[in-house]
Amino acid sequence: MRSGRSPRWLGVAGLAGFLALGEVAPRIGLVSERYLPPTSRIATALADELGQPSFWAALGDTLEGWAIGLTLAVVGGVGLGLLIGSVPALRAATASTIEFLRPIPSVALIPLAVLLFGTDLRSKLLLVVYAAFWQVLIQVLHGVQDVDPVAMDTAHSYRLGRLARVRHVVWPTTLPYAVTGFRLAAAVALVLAITAELIIGSPGLGREIAVAQTSGAVPAMYALVVVAGLLGVAVNLAARALERRLLAWHPSARREAAA
Protein backbone atom coordinates (compact mmCIF):
# COMPACT_ATOMS: atom_id res chain seq x y z
CA MET A 1 0.00 0.00 0.00
CA ARG A 2 2.56 2.55 1.16
CA SER A 3 5.01 1.94 -1.62
CA GLY A 4 2.42 2.14 -4.41
CA ARG A 5 2.36 5.30 -6.45
CA SER A 6 -1.37 5.58 -7.00
CA PRO A 7 -2.45 6.59 -3.45
CA ARG A 8 -0.42 9.81 -3.55
CA TRP A 9 -1.74 10.58 -7.01
CA LEU A 10 -5.28 9.92 -5.78
CA GLY A 11 -4.71 12.17 -2.78
CA VAL A 12 -3.77 15.08 -5.02
CA ALA A 13 -6.73 14.38 -7.29
CA GLY A 14 -9.07 14.31 -4.29
CA LEU A 15 -7.82 17.66 -3.07
CA ALA A 16 -8.11 19.15 -6.56
CA GLY A 17 -11.65 17.83 -6.81
CA PHE A 18 -12.53 19.36 -3.46
CA LEU A 19 -11.12 22.74 -4.51
CA ALA A 20 -12.99 22.55 -7.83
CA LEU A 21 -16.22 21.76 -5.97
CA GLY A 22 -15.60 24.82 -3.79
CA GLU A 23 -15.22 26.88 -6.93
CA VAL A 24 -18.23 25.54 -8.79
CA ALA A 25 -20.85 25.20 -6.03
CA PRO A 26 -21.14 28.95 -5.34
CA ARG A 27 -20.85 29.83 -9.02
CA ILE A 28 -23.83 27.76 -10.08
CA GLY A 29 -25.85 29.02 -7.12
CA LEU A 30 -25.84 25.83 -5.05
CA VAL A 31 -24.76 27.95 -2.09
CA SER A 32 -24.81 31.72 -1.85
CA GLU A 33 -21.61 33.30 -3.12
CA ARG A 34 -21.90 35.96 -0.45
CA TYR A 35 -21.58 33.44 2.37
CA LEU A 36 -19.35 30.83 0.74
CA PRO A 37 -17.12 32.52 -1.80
CA PRO A 38 -15.62 30.38 -4.59
CA THR A 39 -12.13 28.94 -4.06
CA SER A 40 -10.51 31.50 -6.35
CA ARG A 41 -11.86 34.42 -4.30
CA ILE A 42 -10.63 32.81 -1.09
CA ALA A 43 -7.24 32.30 -2.74
CA THR A 44 -7.09 35.99 -3.69
CA ALA A 45 -8.00 36.96 -0.14
CA LEU A 46 -5.31 34.59 1.12
CA ALA A 47 -2.70 36.20 -1.13
CA ASP A 48 -3.84 39.57 0.25
CA GLU A 49 -3.37 38.35 3.81
CA LEU A 50 0.09 36.99 3.05
CA GLY A 51 1.16 40.48 2.04
CA GLN A 52 0.15 42.07 5.34
CA PRO A 53 2.55 42.32 8.28
CA SER A 54 -0.39 42.00 10.70
CA PHE A 55 -1.07 38.52 9.33
CA TRP A 56 2.48 37.36 10.04
CA ALA A 57 2.35 38.90 13.49
CA ALA A 58 -0.87 36.99 14.18
CA LEU A 59 0.61 33.76 12.87
CA GLY A 60 3.63 34.33 15.10
CA ASP A 61 1.40 34.92 18.14
CA THR A 62 -0.51 31.72 17.50
CA LEU A 63 2.67 29.68 17.08
CA GLU A 64 4.22 31.26 20.16
CA GLY A 65 1.22 30.35 22.32
CA TRP A 66 1.16 26.87 20.85
CA ALA A 67 4.87 26.23 21.34
CA ILE A 68 5.12 27.57 24.89
CA GLY A 69 1.92 25.82 25.95
CA LEU A 70 2.96 22.54 24.36
CA THR A 71 6.43 22.68 25.95
CA LEU A 72 4.96 23.30 29.41
CA ALA A 73 2.45 20.49 28.92
CA VAL A 74 5.04 17.99 27.69
CA VAL A 75 7.61 18.78 30.38
CA GLY A 76 4.93 18.70 33.09
CA GLY A 77 3.20 15.63 31.69
CA VAL A 78 6.37 13.58 31.28
CA GLY A 79 7.83 14.65 34.63
CA LEU A 80 4.70 14.04 36.65
CA GLY A 81 3.85 10.93 34.65
CA LEU A 82 7.20 9.29 35.44
CA LEU A 83 6.94 10.29 39.09
CA ILE A 84 3.34 9.19 39.62
CA GLY A 85 3.74 6.10 37.47
CA SER A 86 6.76 4.78 39.33
CA VAL A 87 5.35 5.26 42.84
CA PRO A 88 2.38 2.86 43.19
CA ALA A 89 0.96 4.65 46.26
CA LEU A 90 1.01 7.97 44.45
CA ARG A 91 -0.59 6.41 41.46
CA ALA A 92 -3.43 4.96 43.52
CA ALA A 93 -3.94 8.25 45.33
CA THR A 94 -4.12 10.37 42.17
CA ALA A 95 -6.04 8.06 39.84
CA SER A 96 -9.53 9.25 40.77
CA THR A 97 -8.54 12.92 40.72
CA ILE A 98 -6.94 12.57 37.31
CA GLU A 99 -10.04 10.84 36.00
CA PHE A 100 -12.11 13.70 37.35
CA LEU A 101 -9.96 16.56 36.04
CA ARG A 102 -9.08 15.09 32.67
CA PRO A 103 -12.53 15.22 31.04
CA ILE A 104 -13.12 18.87 31.97
CA PRO A 105 -13.11 20.58 28.57
CA SER A 106 -10.46 23.27 28.44
CA VAL A 107 -12.94 25.72 26.92
CA ALA A 108 -14.98 25.50 30.12
CA LEU A 109 -12.06 27.29 31.78
CA ILE A 110 -12.46 30.35 29.55
CA PRO A 111 -14.31 32.40 32.21
CA LEU A 112 -11.58 31.56 34.72
CA ALA A 113 -8.85 32.47 32.23
CA VAL A 114 -10.51 35.80 31.48
CA LEU A 115 -10.91 36.65 35.16
CA LEU A 116 -7.31 35.81 35.95
CA PHE A 117 -5.48 37.09 32.90
CA GLY A 118 -7.79 39.13 30.69
CA THR A 119 -7.02 38.70 27.03
CA ASP A 120 -3.24 38.27 27.08
CA LEU A 121 -0.99 35.32 26.36
CA ARG A 122 -1.45 33.73 29.80
CA SER A 123 -5.15 33.17 29.14
CA LYS A 124 -4.27 31.24 26.01
CA LEU A 125 -1.57 29.29 27.82
CA LEU A 126 -3.95 28.24 30.58
CA LEU A 127 -6.29 26.65 28.03
CA VAL A 128 -3.53 25.15 25.89
CA VAL A 129 -1.60 23.66 28.81
CA TYR A 130 -4.70 22.29 30.48
CA ALA A 131 -5.84 20.50 27.33
CA ALA A 132 -2.44 19.23 26.22
CA PHE A 133 -1.13 18.20 29.64
CA TRP A 134 -3.58 15.33 30.14
CA GLN A 135 -2.81 13.86 26.73
CA VAL A 136 0.84 13.52 27.67
CA LEU A 137 0.29 12.52 31.31
CA ILE A 138 -2.12 9.71 30.51
CA GLN A 139 0.15 8.27 27.81
CA VAL A 140 3.20 8.40 30.06
CA LEU A 141 1.27 6.72 32.89
CA HIS A 142 0.27 3.91 30.51
CA GLY A 143 3.87 3.69 29.33
CA VAL A 144 5.29 3.34 32.81
CA GLN A 145 2.73 0.64 33.57
CA ASP A 146 3.78 -1.25 30.47
CA VAL A 147 7.34 -1.81 31.73
CA ASP A 148 8.22 -5.51 31.53
CA PRO A 149 8.41 -6.84 35.14
CA VAL A 150 11.10 -9.33 34.12
CA ALA A 151 13.25 -6.51 32.75
CA MET A 152 12.66 -4.60 35.97
CA ASP A 153 13.62 -7.61 38.09
CA THR A 154 16.72 -8.13 35.97
CA ALA A 155 17.68 -4.50 36.51
CA HIS A 156 17.19 -5.00 40.24
CA SER A 157 19.37 -8.09 40.32
CA TYR A 158 22.09 -6.22 38.44
CA ARG A 159 21.80 -3.66 41.24
CA LEU A 160 20.92 -0.77 38.95
CA GLY A 161 20.15 2.37 40.93
CA ARG A 162 16.79 4.14 40.80
CA LEU A 163 17.97 6.64 38.19
CA ALA A 164 19.65 3.96 36.09
CA ARG A 165 16.45 1.90 36.13
CA VAL A 166 14.45 4.88 34.94
CA ARG A 167 17.03 5.63 32.28
CA HIS A 168 17.54 2.09 30.94
CA VAL A 169 14.28 0.29 31.64
CA VAL A 170 11.37 2.66 32.27
CA TRP A 171 12.27 5.37 29.76
CA PRO A 172 12.74 3.15 26.66
CA THR A 173 9.36 1.54 27.32
CA THR A 174 7.67 4.87 28.03
CA LEU A 175 9.15 6.85 25.14
CA PRO A 176 6.83 5.53 22.40
CA TYR A 177 3.85 6.34 24.62
CA ALA A 178 5.23 9.78 25.45
CA VAL A 179 5.78 10.51 21.77
CA THR A 180 2.22 9.49 20.97
CA GLY A 181 1.09 11.78 23.79
CA PHE A 182 3.18 14.56 22.30
CA ARG A 183 1.64 14.09 18.87
CA LEU A 184 -1.90 14.20 20.28
CA ALA A 185 -1.01 17.15 22.48
CA ALA A 186 0.49 19.08 19.56
CA ALA A 187 -2.81 18.91 17.67
CA VAL A 188 -4.96 19.68 20.70
CA ALA A 189 -2.70 22.60 21.68
CA LEU A 190 -3.22 24.21 18.28
CA VAL A 191 -7.00 23.77 18.51
CA LEU A 192 -7.06 25.41 21.93
CA ALA A 193 -4.68 28.22 20.96
CA ILE A 194 -6.97 29.23 18.11
CA THR A 195 -10.10 28.76 20.22
CA ALA A 196 -8.69 31.07 22.90
CA GLU A 197 -7.93 33.72 20.30
CA LEU A 198 -11.33 33.38 18.68
CA ILE A 199 -13.34 33.57 21.90
CA ILE A 200 -11.25 35.51 24.39
CA GLY A 201 -9.59 37.74 21.81
CA SER A 202 -5.96 36.97 22.64
CA PRO A 203 -3.74 38.11 19.77
CA GLY A 204 -3.34 35.53 17.00
CA LEU A 205 -4.96 33.93 13.97
CA GLY A 206 -8.19 33.21 15.85
CA ARG A 207 -8.66 36.85 16.69
CA GLU A 208 -8.02 37.79 13.06
CA ILE A 209 -10.76 35.34 12.08
CA ALA A 210 -13.09 36.99 14.59
CA VAL A 211 -12.26 40.46 13.30
CA ALA A 212 -12.84 39.39 9.69
CA GLN A 213 -16.16 37.89 10.79
CA THR A 214 -17.35 41.00 12.68
CA SER A 215 -16.33 43.07 9.66
CA GLY A 216 -18.35 40.97 7.25
CA ALA A 217 -15.13 40.22 5.32
CA VAL A 218 -16.20 36.71 4.32
CA PRO A 219 -13.40 35.77 1.86
CA ALA A 220 -10.72 36.98 4.31
CA MET A 221 -12.37 34.93 7.06
CA TYR A 222 -12.25 31.76 4.94
CA ALA A 223 -8.67 32.53 3.94
CA LEU A 224 -7.67 32.62 7.62
CA VAL A 225 -9.59 29.43 8.30
CA VAL A 226 -7.61 27.79 5.48
CA VAL A 227 -4.38 29.00 7.11
CA ALA A 228 -5.49 27.47 10.41
CA GLY A 229 -6.12 24.20 8.58
CA LEU A 230 -2.73 24.24 6.89
CA LEU A 231 -1.13 24.94 10.24
CA GLY A 232 -2.84 21.84 11.61
CA VAL A 233 -1.48 19.74 8.74
CA ALA A 234 2.02 21.15 9.27
CA VAL A 235 1.90 20.45 13.01
CA ASN A 236 0.82 16.87 12.40
CA LEU A 237 3.50 16.28 9.75
CA ALA A 238 6.18 17.72 12.00
CA ALA A 239 5.03 15.61 14.95
CA ARG A 240 5.10 12.46 12.81
CA ALA A 241 8.56 13.26 11.48
CA LEU A 242 9.77 13.74 15.04
CA GLU A 243 8.10 10.49 16.06
CA ARG A 244 9.95 8.57 13.32
CA ARG A 245 13.26 10.15 14.31
CA LEU A 246 12.92 9.56 18.02
CA LEU A 247 11.67 6.01 17.62
CA ALA A 248 13.93 4.88 14.77
CA TRP A 249 15.39 2.24 17.11
CA HIS A 250 12.00 0.93 18.22
CA PRO A 251 10.72 -2.40 16.83
CA SER A 252 7.45 -0.84 15.64
CA ALA A 253 9.30 1.73 13.51
CA ARG A 254 11.86 -0.82 12.29
CA ARG A 255 9.19 -3.24 11.22
CA GLU A 256 7.38 -0.48 9.32
CA ALA A 257 10.57 0.50 7.51
CA ALA A 258 11.33 -3.09 6.58
CA ALA A 259 7.86 -3.72 5.16
Partner: protein
Amino acid sequence: MRRPLVSLVALALLAAAAGCGSSGDDNGGQASGGGTKQVKVGVIPILDVAPIYLGKEKGFFSKRGIELTLETGQGGAAIVPGVVSGQFQFGFSNVTSLLIAQSRGLALKVVANGVASTGEDKADYSGIVATDDAIKTAADLEGRQVSVNTLKNIGDSTIRASVRKAGGDPSTVKFVELAFPDMPAALEAGRVDAVWVVEPFLSATLGAGGHLVASNYVDTAPDLTVALYFTSEQLAKDDPDLVGKFTEAMGESLAYADAHPDEARQVLTSYTQIDEAVIQKLVLPKWPADINRESVETLATLAVQDGLVTEQPDVAALLPS
Protein backbone atom coordinates in the same frame (compact mmCIF):
# COMPACT_ATOMS: atom_id res chain seq x y z
CA MET B 1 -11.06 12.57 50.11
CA ARG B 2 -7.46 11.51 49.82
CA ARG B 3 -4.82 14.10 49.22
CA PRO B 4 -3.78 13.75 45.63
CA LEU B 5 -0.60 15.34 44.41
CA VAL B 6 -2.15 16.51 41.20
CA SER B 7 -4.70 18.67 42.93
CA LEU B 8 -1.96 20.10 45.10
CA VAL B 9 0.05 20.91 42.03
CA ALA B 10 -3.02 22.35 40.36
CA LEU B 11 -3.67 24.50 43.41
CA ALA B 12 -0.09 25.67 43.44
CA LEU B 13 -0.33 26.53 39.76
CA LEU B 14 -3.56 28.43 40.31
CA ALA B 15 -2.06 30.31 43.23
CA ALA B 16 0.97 31.20 41.14
CA ALA B 17 -1.33 32.21 38.33
CA ALA B 18 -3.43 34.41 40.62
CA GLY B 19 -0.21 35.92 41.89
CA CYS B 20 0.85 36.78 38.36
CA GLY B 21 -2.58 38.23 37.76
CA SER B 22 -2.46 40.65 40.65
CA SER B 23 1.12 41.66 39.98
CA GLY B 24 0.00 42.38 36.42
CA ASP B 25 -2.63 44.73 37.84
CA ASP B 26 -0.02 46.66 39.73
CA ASN B 27 1.94 47.30 36.57
CA GLY B 28 -1.26 48.16 34.77
CA GLY B 29 -2.19 51.54 36.15
CA GLN B 30 1.19 52.46 37.50
CA ALA B 31 3.17 55.50 36.47
CA SER B 32 6.44 54.46 34.87
CA GLY B 33 8.78 57.22 35.95
CA GLY B 34 8.17 59.96 33.40
CA GLY B 35 4.48 60.30 34.25
CA THR B 36 3.32 58.11 31.38
CA LYS B 37 0.74 55.57 32.38
CA GLN B 38 0.10 52.27 30.65
CA VAL B 39 -3.62 52.00 30.10
CA LYS B 40 -5.46 49.03 28.66
CA VAL B 41 -8.94 49.52 27.26
CA GLY B 42 -11.21 46.60 26.38
CA VAL B 43 -13.13 47.31 23.17
CA ILE B 44 -14.97 45.42 20.44
CA PRO B 45 -13.52 45.69 16.91
CA ILE B 46 -16.62 47.38 15.45
CA LEU B 47 -17.16 50.83 14.01
CA ASP B 48 -18.59 52.24 17.27
CA VAL B 49 -15.11 52.56 18.74
CA ALA B 50 -13.51 54.41 15.81
CA PRO B 51 -13.01 57.58 17.94
CA ILE B 52 -10.69 55.88 20.44
CA TYR B 53 -8.53 54.48 17.62
CA LEU B 54 -8.55 57.86 15.91
CA GLY B 55 -7.78 59.66 19.18
CA LYS B 56 -4.87 57.33 19.80
CA GLU B 57 -3.55 58.01 16.30
CA LYS B 58 -3.94 61.76 16.79
CA GLY B 59 -2.04 61.65 20.08
CA PHE B 60 -4.96 62.87 22.24
CA PHE B 61 -4.03 60.23 24.81
CA SER B 62 -0.25 60.36 24.65
CA LYS B 63 -0.19 64.13 25.14
CA ARG B 64 -1.97 63.53 28.45
CA GLY B 65 0.56 60.93 29.50
CA ILE B 66 -1.63 57.94 28.66
CA GLU B 67 -0.04 55.11 26.72
CA LEU B 68 -3.07 53.39 25.30
CA THR B 69 -3.35 49.69 24.46
CA LEU B 70 -6.62 48.61 22.89
CA GLU B 71 -7.59 45.02 23.64
CA THR B 72 -10.26 43.55 21.44
CA GLY B 73 -12.49 40.74 22.55
CA GLN B 74 -15.21 39.31 20.35
CA GLY B 75 -18.65 40.39 21.53
CA GLY B 76 -17.08 41.97 24.54
CA ALA B 77 -17.53 38.91 26.75
CA ALA B 78 -14.18 39.64 28.37
CA ILE B 79 -14.64 43.37 28.82
CA VAL B 80 -16.76 43.75 31.98
CA PRO B 81 -14.97 40.98 33.90
CA GLY B 82 -11.68 42.38 32.59
CA VAL B 83 -12.42 45.83 33.99
CA VAL B 84 -13.76 44.49 37.29
CA SER B 85 -10.69 42.32 37.82
CA GLY B 86 -8.35 45.15 36.84
CA GLN B 87 -6.97 43.56 33.66
CA PHE B 88 -8.31 46.59 31.77
CA GLN B 89 -8.44 50.08 33.24
CA PHE B 90 -11.36 51.02 31.01
CA GLY B 91 -13.89 49.25 28.86
CA PHE B 92 -16.53 49.89 26.21
CA SER B 93 -20.01 48.50 26.66
CA ASN B 94 -23.58 49.22 25.65
CA VAL B 95 -25.78 51.07 28.12
CA THR B 96 -28.17 48.21 28.82
CA SER B 97 -25.31 45.81 29.63
CA LEU B 98 -23.93 48.36 32.08
CA LEU B 99 -27.34 48.83 33.72
CA ILE B 100 -27.70 45.06 34.09
CA ALA B 101 -24.16 44.73 35.47
CA GLN B 102 -24.84 47.49 37.97
CA SER B 103 -28.11 45.93 39.12
CA ARG B 104 -26.17 42.73 39.78
CA GLY B 105 -23.90 44.60 42.13
CA LEU B 106 -20.83 45.10 39.94
CA ALA B 107 -19.17 48.34 40.96
CA LEU B 108 -18.81 50.17 37.65
CA LYS B 109 -18.52 53.86 36.89
CA VAL B 110 -19.08 55.48 33.50
CA VAL B 111 -16.27 57.85 32.49
CA ALA B 112 -17.11 58.99 28.96
CA ASN B 113 -19.67 58.83 26.22
CA GLY B 114 -19.23 56.00 23.74
CA VAL B 115 -21.50 56.14 20.74
CA ALA B 116 -24.96 57.49 19.91
CA SER B 117 -27.68 56.99 17.34
CA THR B 118 -27.78 59.50 14.48
CA GLY B 119 -31.26 60.38 15.65
CA GLU B 120 -32.58 60.33 12.08
CA ASP B 121 -35.35 57.89 11.34
CA LYS B 122 -34.46 55.39 8.57
CA ALA B 123 -30.97 56.87 8.41
CA ASP B 124 -29.38 55.39 11.51
CA TYR B 125 -26.48 52.95 11.78
CA SER B 126 -28.84 50.41 13.35
CA GLY B 127 -32.12 49.09 12.06
CA ILE B 128 -34.63 46.26 11.76
CA VAL B 129 -34.57 44.63 8.32
CA ALA B 130 -37.02 42.19 6.75
CA THR B 131 -37.42 40.62 3.31
CA ASP B 132 -41.14 39.80 3.62
CA ASP B 133 -43.14 42.66 2.09
CA ALA B 134 -45.94 42.03 4.58
CA ILE B 135 -43.69 43.48 7.26
CA LYS B 136 -43.99 47.21 6.63
CA THR B 137 -43.79 48.76 10.08
CA ALA B 138 -42.56 47.60 13.46
CA ALA B 139 -46.16 46.78 14.39
CA ASP B 140 -46.10 44.01 11.75
CA LEU B 141 -43.45 42.24 13.82
CA GLU B 142 -46.20 40.94 16.12
CA GLY B 143 -45.90 37.17 16.33
CA ARG B 144 -42.79 37.17 14.14
CA GLN B 145 -39.29 35.90 14.79
CA VAL B 146 -36.72 38.64 15.11
CA SER B 147 -33.03 37.99 15.66
CA VAL B 148 -30.87 39.97 18.07
CA ASN B 149 -27.17 39.51 18.82
CA THR B 150 -27.77 39.01 22.54
CA LEU B 151 -31.07 38.16 24.18
CA LYS B 152 -32.29 40.31 27.08
CA ASN B 153 -30.14 43.23 26.12
CA ILE B 154 -30.26 46.52 24.24
CA GLY B 155 -31.47 44.84 21.02
CA ASP B 156 -34.74 43.35 22.18
CA SER B 157 -35.32 46.28 24.54
CA THR B 158 -35.15 48.86 21.76
CA ILE B 159 -37.03 46.67 19.25
CA ARG B 160 -39.90 46.41 21.74
CA ALA B 161 -39.84 50.21 21.97
CA SER B 162 -40.15 50.36 18.17
CA VAL B 163 -43.09 47.94 18.16
CA ARG B 164 -44.80 49.85 20.97
CA LYS B 165 -44.32 53.15 19.16
CA ALA B 166 -45.84 51.72 15.99
CA GLY B 167 -48.88 50.60 17.98
CA GLY B 168 -48.09 46.89 18.15
CA ASP B 169 -47.92 44.48 21.06
CA PRO B 170 -44.23 43.87 21.82
CA SER B 171 -44.94 40.87 24.06
CA THR B 172 -45.80 38.71 21.02
CA VAL B 173 -42.48 39.27 19.24
CA LYS B 174 -40.29 36.19 19.39
CA PHE B 175 -36.61 36.91 19.77
CA VAL B 176 -33.86 34.55 18.73
CA GLU B 177 -30.17 34.95 19.31
CA LEU B 178 -27.80 35.12 16.32
CA ALA B 179 -24.42 36.76 15.80
CA PHE B 180 -24.57 39.87 13.60
CA PRO B 181 -22.35 38.29 10.90
CA ASP B 182 -24.79 35.35 10.61
CA MET B 183 -27.89 37.49 10.27
CA PRO B 184 -27.79 38.37 6.56
CA ALA B 185 -27.63 34.66 5.66
CA ALA B 186 -30.35 33.76 8.16
CA LEU B 187 -32.66 36.42 6.77
CA GLU B 188 -32.02 35.41 3.18
CA ALA B 189 -32.68 31.75 3.99
CA GLY B 190 -35.92 32.68 5.76
CA ARG B 191 -34.84 31.24 9.10
CA VAL B 192 -36.02 34.45 10.78
CA ASP B 193 -38.66 36.98 9.72
CA ALA B 194 -36.61 40.03 10.55
CA VAL B 195 -33.15 40.84 11.83
CA TRP B 196 -31.79 43.65 13.95
CA VAL B 197 -28.46 44.67 12.48
CA VAL B 198 -25.93 47.45 12.83
CA GLU B 199 -23.42 48.63 10.26
CA PRO B 200 -21.72 47.16 8.23
CA PHE B 201 -24.34 44.38 8.28
CA LEU B 202 -27.17 46.88 7.86
CA SER B 203 -25.76 47.86 4.44
CA ALA B 204 -25.17 44.18 3.65
CA THR B 205 -28.75 43.05 4.39
CA LEU B 206 -30.25 46.06 2.60
CA GLY B 207 -28.00 45.37 -0.36
CA ALA B 208 -29.14 41.74 -0.42
CA GLY B 209 -32.78 42.63 -0.99
CA GLY B 210 -33.96 43.48 2.51
CA HIS B 211 -35.96 46.56 3.38
CA LEU B 212 -35.70 48.76 6.44
CA VAL B 213 -38.67 48.27 8.78
CA ALA B 214 -37.73 50.65 11.56
CA SER B 215 -34.85 52.44 13.21
CA ASN B 216 -35.07 50.95 16.68
CA TYR B 217 -32.60 53.32 18.34
CA VAL B 218 -34.41 56.36 16.96
CA ASP B 219 -37.79 55.01 18.10
CA THR B 220 -36.47 54.48 21.63
CA ALA B 221 -35.31 58.00 22.42
CA PRO B 222 -34.16 61.10 20.56
CA ASP B 223 -30.37 60.92 20.04
CA LEU B 224 -30.11 57.75 22.07
CA THR B 225 -26.81 57.12 23.83
CA VAL B 226 -26.04 53.53 22.86
CA ALA B 227 -22.75 52.70 24.56
CA LEU B 228 -20.34 54.17 27.07
CA TYR B 229 -16.76 53.91 28.31
CA PHE B 230 -16.52 52.82 31.92
CA THR B 231 -14.09 51.87 34.65
CA SER B 232 -14.31 50.11 38.00
CA GLU B 233 -15.39 52.11 41.06
CA GLN B 234 -12.09 51.01 42.58
CA LEU B 235 -9.99 52.77 39.94
CA ALA B 236 -12.30 55.80 39.94
CA LYS B 237 -11.60 56.13 43.68
CA ASP B 238 -7.88 55.24 43.61
CA ASP B 239 -6.77 57.26 40.63
CA PRO B 240 -9.18 60.11 39.86
CA ASP B 241 -6.36 61.90 38.05
CA LEU B 242 -5.98 59.13 35.46
CA VAL B 243 -9.74 58.82 35.06
CA GLY B 244 -10.03 62.58 34.58
CA LYS B 245 -7.35 62.56 31.88
CA PHE B 246 -8.93 59.60 30.11
CA THR B 247 -12.31 61.38 30.15
CA GLU B 248 -10.71 64.51 28.66
CA ALA B 249 -8.87 62.58 25.97
CA MET B 250 -11.99 60.58 25.13
CA GLY B 251 -14.04 63.80 24.89
CA GLU B 252 -11.53 65.27 22.46
CA SER B 253 -11.45 62.01 20.44
CA LEU B 254 -15.25 61.86 20.19
CA ALA B 255 -15.53 65.49 19.12
CA TYR B 256 -12.76 65.01 16.56
CA ALA B 257 -14.27 61.84 15.08
CA ASP B 258 -17.70 63.44 14.90
CA ALA B 259 -16.29 66.47 13.10
CA HIS B 260 -14.09 64.43 10.75
CA PRO B 261 -16.17 61.54 9.43
CA ASP B 262 -13.71 60.90 6.58
CA GLU B 263 -10.90 60.29 9.03
CA ALA B 264 -13.20 58.12 11.12
CA ARG B 265 -13.93 56.02 8.02
CA GLN B 266 -10.21 55.85 7.28
CA VAL B 267 -9.31 54.60 10.76
CA LEU B 268 -11.74 51.69 10.32
CA THR B 269 -9.30 50.16 7.85
CA SER B 270 -6.68 49.97 10.61
CA TYR B 271 -8.60 47.71 13.00
CA THR B 272 -11.43 46.08 11.05
CA GLN B 273 -11.47 44.16 7.79
CA ILE B 274 -14.53 45.91 6.43
CA ASP B 275 -14.35 46.25 2.66
CA GLU B 276 -13.18 49.70 1.46
CA ALA B 277 -16.22 50.18 -0.74
CA VAL B 278 -18.53 49.33 2.17
CA ILE B 279 -16.67 51.70 4.49
CA GLN B 280 -17.27 54.63 2.14
CA LYS B 281 -21.00 53.98 1.96
CA LEU B 282 -22.02 52.85 5.44
CA VAL B 283 -23.92 55.11 7.84
CA LEU B 284 -21.68 56.30 10.66
CA PRO B 285 -23.10 56.71 14.16
CA LYS B 286 -22.87 59.99 16.06
CA TRP B 287 -20.09 60.55 18.56
CA PRO B 288 -21.24 63.42 20.80
CA ALA B 289 -18.84 64.27 23.62
CA ASP B 290 -21.68 64.40 26.16
CA ILE B 291 -23.84 61.59 27.44
CA ASN B 292 -27.56 61.98 26.76
CA ARG B 293 -28.65 61.27 30.35
CA GLU B 294 -32.32 61.35 29.55
CA SER B 295 -31.89 58.53 27.04
CA VAL B 296 -29.96 56.47 29.57
CA GLU B 297 -32.91 56.93 31.97
CA THR B 298 -35.21 55.75 29.19
CA LEU B 299 -33.13 52.58 28.68
CA ALA B 300 -33.16 52.01 32.45
CA THR B 301 -36.95 52.28 32.53
CA LEU B 302 -37.21 49.91 29.54
CA ALA B 303 -34.85 47.46 31.22
CA VAL B 304 -37.21 47.31 34.22
CA GLN B 305 -40.31 47.15 32.02
CA ASP B 306 -38.88 44.30 29.91
CA GLY B 307 -37.74 42.42 32.99
CA LEU B 308 -34.01 42.60 32.20
CA VAL B 309 -33.44 43.88 35.73
CA THR B 310 -35.63 43.57 38.80
CA GLU B 311 -34.98 46.96 40.39
CA GLN B 312 -34.82 50.42 38.84
CA PRO B 313 -31.08 50.91 38.17
CA ASP B 314 -29.39 53.84 39.89
CA VAL B 315 -28.50 55.83 36.79
CA ALA B 316 -27.10 58.76 38.78
CA ALA B 317 -24.62 56.47 40.54
CA LEU B 318 -23.51 54.87 37.27
CA LEU B 319 -23.03 58.06 35.28
CA PRO B 320 -20.36 60.63 36.13
CA SER B 321 -21.69 63.63 38.03
